[in-house]
Symmetry: C2
Subunit: 349 residues, 2 copies
Amino acid sequence: MIVAPTTSRTTTAPQVLARCRALVGPALVRAVDRLHPWVGEMAAYSFGWCESGGAPTGHPGGKGIRQALAVLAAEAAGAPAQAGVEAAVAVELVHAFSLLHDDIMDGDAARRGRPAVWKAYGTGPAVLAGDALYALAVETLAASPAGPEALRLLATALGDLVSGQADDLLFAARPWTGPERVRPEEYRTMAEHKTGALLGCAASLGAVFAGAPPETVTALDRAGRHLGIAFQIVDAVLGIWGDPAVTGKPAHGDLRERKKSLPVLAALDTPGPTAARLAAFLQSAGAADEAGARRAAALIDEAGGRAAALAEAADHIASVERVLGGIPLAAAAAGELRVLMDYMGDREV
Amino acid sequence: MIVAPTTSRTTTAPQVLARCRALVGPALVRAVDRLHPWVGEMAAYSFGWCESGGAPTGHPGGKGIRQALAVLAAEAAGAPAQAGVEAAVAVELVHAFSLLHDDIMDGDAARRGRPAVWKAYGTGPAVLAGDALYALAVETLAASPAGPEALRLLATALGDLVSGQADDLLFAARPWTGPERVRPEEYRTMAEHKTGALLGCAASLGAVFAGAPPETVTALDRAGRHLGIAFQIVDAVLGIWGDPAVTGKPAHGDLRERKKSLPVLAALDTPGPTAARLAAFLQSAGAADEAGARRAAALIDEAGGRAAALAEAADHIASVERVLGGIPLAAAAAGELRVLMDYMGDREV
């Protein structure tokens, strides 16, 4: 059952992503073209295809991780890449919807270096554009022969996305210490729902469209969920210790925004004097300025928060490998799937 | 094929609605109970079941027109009422979602005499609660045996809802006269999408869950769409000439808000000097205060806008009757369906 190493291929993740974008892109454009023209412009803007007002950017948009997962999963399940295209379109639409609505909820004014849709078009129109993308995803799957099972997977992912976003929003109002504090296991659940569910959905939908057996579908969903948790944790580590020149975000940004991310939560959960000092420091809003944030980052590190987070991300990546190793997959596509998953889970930290 | 008159029943619309609410209510509560607790509270608040904070109101919520359409359509198609319950739950969830998001888009701060969800909980949380209701509707249908066809109907209705709302939002920015003006036929399309699509979806989903043949499903969808257009037109007439004591809205409110509703558009589309005077008056923002709005209402009436709108609403109600008369339906349920549709299309104007 073990996936054979891809000795014969030296494909890189950017190459894999580009191949899948080339395959899925036209179908995604055709889907968005079915929208009401004004709503379709907002959708195209959110994908990075046009400026506000509709002028084309000539840009293909985001990396397309989710569409690639769907296509590669279809291939890994033994079907031609084409079999995963409708699944890929649906998950990219859902991803775009969730970014659009999350930016409203989180008050994030910029996305990929441009004004977020709600900043460029207004909050109401951005709510509508998100709804439209969501409806289009449902329509895409409802029209497909994989119908009911595909829609059950999508509905589960959508429900999880909402739960994850709800928990993430509620974490902000909870205290750093005491019985109401956010536990590391709550963070894990949030990360699985907010990030893992759609990655799992992408991979499992690809398999459903390939006609894969239920064990393969379930395994790919689980692999995507582990990958999502790892990705979110690595993101959290980068949000504290990442190089602003690489991340494009301010140094220690997540600490200054008081985000309850795993490195902090793991540090606070470690018995000992450093955790207590960190808690007191965070409660006093000591991390609000750059010097304070640097001090908080040092305390988190000293309490073992960074190491614990990175160890946990590595564990989830190992789980991805283990889960994929337990099902029969076509070697070449499974190799590319691993290249992509490694690329996502193993960014420079 | 003509539906037999219901001589043996003297059921009123409020009785029909109460019967359907009693049947669907528990299933709807169970569905909402599956949501994330915080999101579920917002959903329950939006249904009128609880206050902000979660204290129960002891109130059953809205009238439940859409759930009743689904249940009655299932019965009219020859199935027991129970067969329509999942369809009823799904359409009530979609309706709640659309009210929630529309209130954000339209900036409506109140709904049914209480603060709108976005006023009570904030815009971001309200966006999320709408998304959750939407996801729950998809999940409800995806889990049902009627699966793929039901989801195709829902997806079409969702797409239409978005288009209708987009057009309605865009109408506000368009001029009263000239080539860019809103034509009455554009209003009809908007009304069909914004109001008719979900009523048609409710009725047709009920029929699908009853295992009805495609002609019955299509006819019930068409009947619901005609009903929706009639309902929206009657609403527009009430928005200008309705008694504030009955409508709960300010006199001539739609004129003061410069809404491009059918009576105005029909008046402007009538050749003659009154239409020209009305156009000049509206362009000068003459209807912004109560005296001006009264004057505009008189001009619309004089140009025939009220009569044209009411005639058109009556036409659509006649189409409902004709469409329902063309398919074989169980007499008792079809009679109740007519009672309900008459109730909706024939309010005091």
